[in-house]
């Protein structure tokens, strides 16, 4: 049974992050996910300091606010003339450092240590359960399901708006779409996704889950919808194969899952039809063999 919960959690992380990550890749803001995954620590600590509880609900609220704060500060520094990558670097290291300081100063004896936040521990997931409506499931599964539901609802209702504000924000603005509100709503979802995936894979590997499957899907998709489906598929595949390989080699589950994302990406990158490496190499050889006759 424990194995089932771990696999389910991993798969849910794969699906949720895979779905959310698609627009991070399309908007070319993959690194903002890295920033948010670190600054949610700040949000969680502040939520703990205010409420004195580690309840999942307040963690989500704190994370959402921290994600919005990160997005806002990055935007602010950018409009002040800083490059985006530099703005992200400044904001997330500062907020993350504040989070670490606050933990050691105010939450020293609580179960909220930095290593846990960074690496997570998916094997412990089955023991921390919530009872909701008579169902007893691991807390991580509940949180992931709730956040996945948010993601699906948001993308279902605002699919065309997200597509247009991503593809052509200038045109979107000209027909009156609220591009700023869309951006912040989406970044809130990224924050919620991050914190929901936190417990199982930690802040560092959640970035791999957000970016890797979506980047792989980008290589082989002709529409945003198909990219979402492929991205979720790659997320689940990485989670399940990662789990069994970790069991086989007795190594870190989350680490193995993230490693599998890298493996899948490389496989697609190399073997993809039409413009994968192998395909291109083959075409080049064929081209060389073709004799060119010039009629005189």
């Amino acid at each position: 049974m424990n194995e089932f919960w771990v696999l389910l959690t991993g798969s849910l992380v794969g699906i949720t992050c895979g779905l959310t990550g698609v627009f991070l890749i399309l908007r070319k803001t993959a690194m903002i996910a890295d920033a948010i995954s670190h600054t949610v620590l700040f949000g969680i600590v502040v939520a703990f300091m205010i409420t004195q509880s580690l309840s999942g609900f307040w963690m989500l609220v704190g994370a959402a606010i921290a994600g919005l704060l990160t997005t806002f500060l990055v935007q602010l520094l950018q409009s002040g003339g800083l490059q985006e990558d530099a703005a992200i670097g400044v904001v997330f290291t500062s907020l993350f450092a504040l989070g670490v300081l606050f933990i050691t100063l105010f939450a020293g004896n609580v179960h909220l240590d930095v290593e846990h936040v960074l690496m997570g521990e998916i094997a412990f997931v089955p023991w921390d359960t919530w009872d909701i409506l008579g169902f007893s499931m691991p807390k991580a599964v509940w949180m992931l399901l709730i956040v996945l539901l948010f993601n699906i609802l948001f993308l279902f209702f605002f699919y065309k708006e997200m597509k247009l504000t991503t593809f052509d924000p200038v045109f979107a603005l000209s027909i009156g779409l609220p591009i700023v509100a869309m951006h912040y709503s989406y970044m809130t979802l990224v924050s919620l996704t991050t914190v929901a995936a936190f417990d199982s894979v930690g802040a560092v590997l959640v970035v791999a889950m957000l970016i890797g499957p979506a980047a792989t899907a980008y290589l082989m998709s002709k529409s945003v919808l198909r990219m979402m489906i492929w991205s979720m598929f790659f997320g689940i595949t990485a989670a399940i194969t990662g789990y069994y390989l970790a069991k086989l080699w007795n190594t870190s589950i989350a680490g193995m899952m993230a490693a599998m994302i890298g493996v899948i990406f490389m496989l697609v990158f190399v073997f993809k039809p039409h413009d994968g490496w192998i395909w291109k190499m083959f075409k080049r050889i064929k081209l060389k063999d073709t004799k060119v006759h010039v009629e005189s």
Binding site: E161, L164, L173, K222, S223, V224
Partner: protein
């Protein structure tokens, strides 16, 4: 009825003034070229008119009303290089984006919207490419798709930012035929353009711009050597070399 009225429009990026005290009144039904040297603020003028710049002063009226995106009176073709053409979508889908303003938030495109999008693709001669990924289209084909998207907006006043840049001759002919057709239907079209050779042929109204308006009016009155020299700050050397006693129309 005036298609466009601009009063005392000024725009500054940080400290640098890009547009200063622009005043324009242009009646409906004209195909208008916005012409001026590099850095004259042509694209900025369009963006300011479309209310896309926060740091502007002055008033803009389109069809004698303040701009309201929800009216669907304005169609827009941004510069082609403003978007990422590797975005995973096809030509028809991009044209369908022109319907989003009419469809409204949350709701999905109807069969009628899809039919309109397909008809607009046909108008620009691209119906065979409806399912083609936009990344596989040539520059000229991409520009046609952008024009078809604007047509799908079914607007009254159109703004187009450099639609002729980097397109093949056939596409240029298609685009200008469509623009003249729009004009014949009583629509008003504003086009940022930088090719002086074709300007007089294409447009029946010319705005000469260099940070402020140096001339605006029917082509035969405005497109004169004196006005051009003023707009280009005397930098039109080729005109001196081919000095002739005729104007450019």
């Amino acid at each position: 009825m005036d298609a466009l009225q601009v009063k005392n429009l000024s725009v500054a990026y940080e400290e640098k003034v890009v547009l200063q005290n622009v005043n324009l009144t242009i009646p409906v039904g004209h195909l208008t070229g916005i012409i001026g040297p590099n850095g004259a603020g042509k694209s900025t003028l369009i963006k300011a008119i479309l209310n896309q710049l926060p740091n502007k002063t002055g008033a803009v009226h389109i069809l004698e009303r303040p701009l309201n995106a929800k009216d669907h009176t304005v169609g827009y073709v941004p510069q082609r290089n403003a978007v990422d053409w590797d975005f995973p979508t096809n030509a028809l889908d991009v044209v369908l984006m022109g319907r989003y303003g009419h469809i409204g938030m949350i709701k999905k495109p109807s069969a009628k919207d899809k039919q309109i999008a397909m008809d607009c693709l046909k108008d620009v001669g691209m119906e065979a490419f409806a399912d083609r990924s936009i990344g596989q289209l040539s520059g000229g084909q991409q520009q046609r798709v952008f024009l078809a998207r604007a047509l799908a907006q079914e607007a009254e006043v159109y703004f187009m930012d450099e639609p002729f840049v980097g397109v093949d001759a056939a596409t240029e002919r298609t685009i200008i035929a469509i623009l003249k057709d729009l004009k014949a239907k009583g629509k008003s079209v504003f086009v940022v353009h930088h090719d002086l050779q074709t300007a007089a042929d294409y447009f029946d109204w010319i705005i000469l711009l260099n940070q402020t308006i140096t001339a605006s009016g029917p082509t035969e009155q405005t497109f004169t050597e004196d006005n051009l020299q003023e707009a280009y700050g005397g930098k039109l050397f080729f005109m001196d070399q081919t000095k002739s006693n005729k104007t450019f129309n």
